[in-house]
Assembly symmetry: C2
Homo-oligomer: 268 residues x 2
Amino acid sequence: MGRTKTDHRPLILVTNDDGVTAGGIKALIEVVRPYGDIVVVAPDQAMSGMSHAITVKVPLYLSKIHAEKGLEIYKSNGTPADCVKLALNTLLPKQPDFVVSGINHGINSSVSMHYSGTMGGAREGVLNGIPSIGFSLLDYRADADFSTAIHYSREIFSSVISHGIEAGICYNVNIPKGKGINGIKVCRQAKGRWVEEFDERIDPRGRTYYWLTGHFENHEPEADDTDEWALANGFVSIVPCNIDATHFSGIQKLRESGIGQVSSHNIV
Amino acid sequence: MGRTKTDHRPLILVTNDDGVTAGGIKALIEVVRPYGDIVVVAPDQAMSGMSHAITVKVPLYLSKIHAEKGLEIYKSNGTPADCVKLALNTLLPKQPDFVVSGINHGINSSVSMHYSGTMGGAREGVLNGIPSIGFSLLDYRADADFSTAIHYSREIFSSVISHGIEAGICYNVNIPKGKGINGIKVCRQAKGRWVEEFDERIDPRGRTYYWLTGHFENHEPEADDTDEWALANGFVSIVPCNIDATHFSGIQKLRESGIGQVSSHNIV
């Protein structure tokens, strides 16, 4: 395991994708506040579905909106990944000990983690060598009740404080709605996909337009080791996620397929 | 390997992140045109750095801008991932046989694949069970010369037509600039990170703002099996990339760490 217990007061960077005023980020601040000094850098507007996007077309601004002992809060016009970059490069006096992102209003299990701005923020942390966790709650409502989520998120964060996180890995934590949670389960990402994804309408000028919608289809509902199974059965899911996307076992097979060898050029 | 030779004329979906008018997508159409019927759905503006973002705040429009035998071109206000979703859900009469994305004006090797809209488009293809490839050229200029890139991209695409791609995997192809390419190399993703990421300026109203910039730092320059090594040594790199981000070998270790077991709740 990587970085573990520290002999100084930890510096904890908090971000999210629902924006700095969301209930979920207030909940996450409450989760981590007992464990260190907190700096929050979060988007000034909702950034749901922004994945690991970074902003290259417009310049980024950063402004302090709150400061008290042990807690500073900044907002930015950037994405969650931008917020982490801004914190690391322009704001913090040293590398933070942890990056936490969320608590998202809505679930980011299975392949949804690829679309998730929450997980984009967490992944940006681990890309910079910092133990990082994304937290999401299966409740999209702005007034979602985070009390149970706070309890379990703190339990997980406390374990990470003690044990660290392996280098190159971040945790994708998803939490069921409601009070009756059965426990915490370490899982793999379920295989599945989103289907029937658009709501088609006609605008006042007669043009067809589409709202992104749809529902998730679990391709392996019987498998009891996935995050989808855990959530459907009342467990908090934790998936350890690689930032290295290489499909290692496919490399040799791909070489043996002779890819590229139809050319007269050298192949290595 | 998954889907291989087909006994019908393949349907090939093309997207990119530099926008439908970019030179790179014209190059990619040229790459795949001999192999099937082509439908292009690409952003109406530059979407660099948009990763796997999807659009949830505004509705999406789709309009046909070109049609000839075997080639239809549509533009959308969405991201590359949105463009693939729109094509699959609202436009195409059947699942396409391949999704290709690019050719990007600029490189998407190593961790940059996480920020890449080009790779977001390709990943959306494989999330839907379609063999998918992202192509990028190490030349950011709008007037980049794609002639050598077309040659190598076609060589790779031709091999994929013959051999298919394993389910759940997409290829991240990066191509050096210039004519003197040494061949094609199947690689893993190099470990590294972006550093010194912001150019700080003062706007006319006296406010500090930041442009995202920086440079990539390869953390293993000696390793000769990475995409960064291949590109630095004049080879086209192909990295087979997982859509399943699970760090499988970390699951047991994480269970053994006793994560969550400080609570009185059941742990599975």
